[in-house]
């Protein structure tokens, strides 16, 4: 058993989950019952033994250990190592207590079924690896005891491996479920706390900032600068509060896992492969929340009330394309240009419209810029959108701004042609 696994096991124990406590109680019950079985077996065959006192001593030691473990709450690796050693010692001492003829004839070992309890203990603490390792150790002791393995020895070994492996596997699965549950509870508590903070921020700070902004504007002069500052802080704080709320909602409202993963496992292009990889484990992201971060005094973001869910990697790419379009507004539309972003969930597609009221340009100039690879339109916007299986449409009129419409399927198309 590796040190890392031991540490992880210890950490889990430290959390003292109800799951492991219940499993340990089960193993404890098994240990007591199997010890009683060992007592009955030894008592029954006391006359057959070569050295009955050794047999009684082994059963007595195992009994003391069984009671001792009952008094402890925590199951640790040193404790299990001792138990494993006791089980092996008990098995090997069978050679001393019993006659070679009996052993060769397939007589049970002194600990009998008790030897499975450290295997179970290791499975609970260390998962399937721990269970199998302990089963192999006990099995090795069994073989050593017999010398030449009999049919019964092999049968026992198989049973031990099954117990250790299966129980360990179940424990691993249950532990993963427990972790997911813990995580969900933690997220829920976090959301509740953030909601509480958001409410108190709304009531206090946002109100004050809005008030300062308002009064500052009315006073004019140097106060107007303060007003702008307050307005900017208010906007940032509002985004923060909303973003956090959105984060919680987005996480709790994910679609079925792998909704964005294509049926065909062979990706059509490297981009599709990357998108597929991102789908594993990351879930979906709310495009509205991603784009809310782009909002400012000059950029207005409008979105539906419900989260617009795309697989996280796709949402990220689309958000980058929108940001590229907004960068273009900053660079080319003029110093006073404002921009509006509208997100629409069309059921199968999502459409993002980016409009500005800047200087605009003629269609000819737009085409020239595209040919020259400028404007960022060709690659950072159109390329990204094409990789997502969508379309980009740019319209511009001199003096009346530019409108970029990006339409992208919500779910990655299962098969796509290579981009030319």
């Amino acid at each position: 058993m590796s040190r890392a696994a031991t540490a992880a096991g210890a950490a889990d124990r430290g959390r003292g989950s109800a799951l492991e406590f219940a499993l340990d109680r089960g193993v404890d019950t098994y240990r007591v019952l199997s010890w009683l079985y060992a007592v009955v077996m030894v008592w029954h065959r006391l006359g057959d033994f070569h050295r009955p006192l050794v047999a009684l001593a082994v059963v007595l030691v195992l009994g003391l250990w069984t009671v001792f473990v009952l008094l402890l709450r925590r199951r640790t690796w040193p404790l299990l190592a001792v138990e494993l050693a006791l089980a092996c010692a008990g098995i090997l001492l069978t050679r001393v207590a019993d006659s070679p003829e009996n052993i060769a004839a397939g007589a049970t070992t002194l600990p009998a079924t008790w030897a499975a309890s450290p295997v179970m203990g290791c499975a609970v603490l260390g998962g399937w690896r721990g269970g199998l390792a302990a089963a192999l150790v006990v099995g090795a002791a069994d073989i050593l005891e017999v010398g030449a393995p009999t049919e019964g020895t092999v049968y026992n070994l198989v049973l031990l491996l099954l117990i250790g492996g299966c129980l360990g596997w179940c424990v691993d699965v249950a532990r993963r479920g427990q972790r997911a549950l813990d995580e969900a509870m933690r997220v829920r508590a976090e959301i509740a706390e953030r909601d509480r903070l958001a409410r108190s921020i709304h009531d206090g700070v946002l109100q004050n900032l809005a008030f300062i902004h308002r009064r500052g504007q009315q006073l004019g002069g140097p106060s107007a600068d303060l007003a702008d500052l307050a307005a900017e802080s208010e906007r940032e704080l509002r985004d923060l509060v909303q973003g956090r709320r959105g984060a919680g909602q987005g996480r709790s409202a994910t679609l079925g896992a792998g909704a964005g993963t294509p049926e065909s496992s062979a990706p059509a292009s490297p981009a599709a492969g990357a998108a597929g990889a991102a789908a594993v484990g990351t879930g979906d992201a709310d495009l509205g929340r991603l784009l809310a971060a782009s909002g400012s005094a000059r950029v207005s973001v409008a979105a539906p009330a419900q989260p617009v869910l795309l697989e996280a990697g796709r949402a990220q790419e689309l958000a980058l394309a929108v940001r590229a379009a907004l960068d273009n507004v900053t660079k080319h539309a003029g110093p006073d240009a404002k921009a509006w972003v509208l997100i629409e969930d069309l059921g199968t597609d999502v459409t993002v419209t980016v409009r500005d009221d800047g200087v605009g340009c003629t269609p000819q100039r737009l085409a020239e810029a595209k040919d020259a690879g400028r404007l960022g339109v060709s690659q950072s916007i159109c390329g990204r959108v094409a990789d997502l299986g969508g379309t980009a449409n740019v319209r511009s009129t001199p003096g009346r701004g530019t409108t970029v419409v990006l339409t992208v399927p919500l779910v990655a198309p299962p098969q796509r042609e290579e981009r030319p």
């Binding site: 958001a198 409410r199 921020i201 709304h202 009531d203 946002l206 109100q207 809005a210 008030f211 902004h213 308002r214 009064r215 504007q217 009315q218 307005a231 208010e234 906007r235 509002r238 509060v241 909303q242 709320r245 909002g295 207005s300 973001v301 409008a302 979105a303 539906p304 009330a305 419900q306 404002k338 921009a339 509006w340 509208l342 997100i343 629409e344 969930d345 069309l346 059921g347 419209t353 409009r355 009221d357 409108t403």
Partner: protein, 242 residues
Amino acid sequence: MSRTTEPSSAGAAPSGRGSAEQVRVLVADDHPMWRDAVARDLEDAGFDVVGIADDGPSAVRRTIATRPDVLVLDLNLPGLRGDEVCVALAEAALPTRVLILSASAEQQDVLEAVKSGASGYLVKSAAREEFIDAVHATAAGKAVFTPGLAGLVLGEFRRLAASPSAPTSDPALQLTPRETEVLLLVATGLSYKEIATELFISHRTVQNHVQSTLNKLQLHNRVQLVRYALAHGLDAPQPPQG
């Protein structure tokens, strides 16, 4: 949310009853300094501030008692949420129109309030003139839409169209292509005047289209409430009044 696009659209000259008599306004906000500043601004602009309220229940009580033309309502009042205030006022069958002001622009809450009967929405960071214009527009029965609200309403109609339980067959509850077009343009920041130019229609027609989307949304909400009531057996006939 934008705070700069509305004046040209909502800021039409006060018309109808707005100019004939003083518009009566009630201000409901739990922030005393803000509330007083808003009330002062409104009085300076020639409005008659008939009262103030600092929580949800008192907003409902005082609105019912004073029957103002416009209720300027903070979305997050203690006691009752904005949409609950709107529902309570709708039940009282008041002529009062509700203009929502919100500091935090919580989207779902804004949408709920508008569905429950509020006729406009403005962020608190809006400029003073913008705010005054919006109160005038609200008093004149015009919907006050920001691009953000247009995006919300558009999204809500899309959601309703996609929802299997929605009575989508009823044309009275569906957006016409023209209304969708107008909402799209409002959501991408065009003023009503610009939309009128773009679509070769009058400013008044743009206003009517926007108003119509809001009416349909509120009608949709009422239809859903009635359906819910029918589905849950709340339609038992009242015992005849003696």
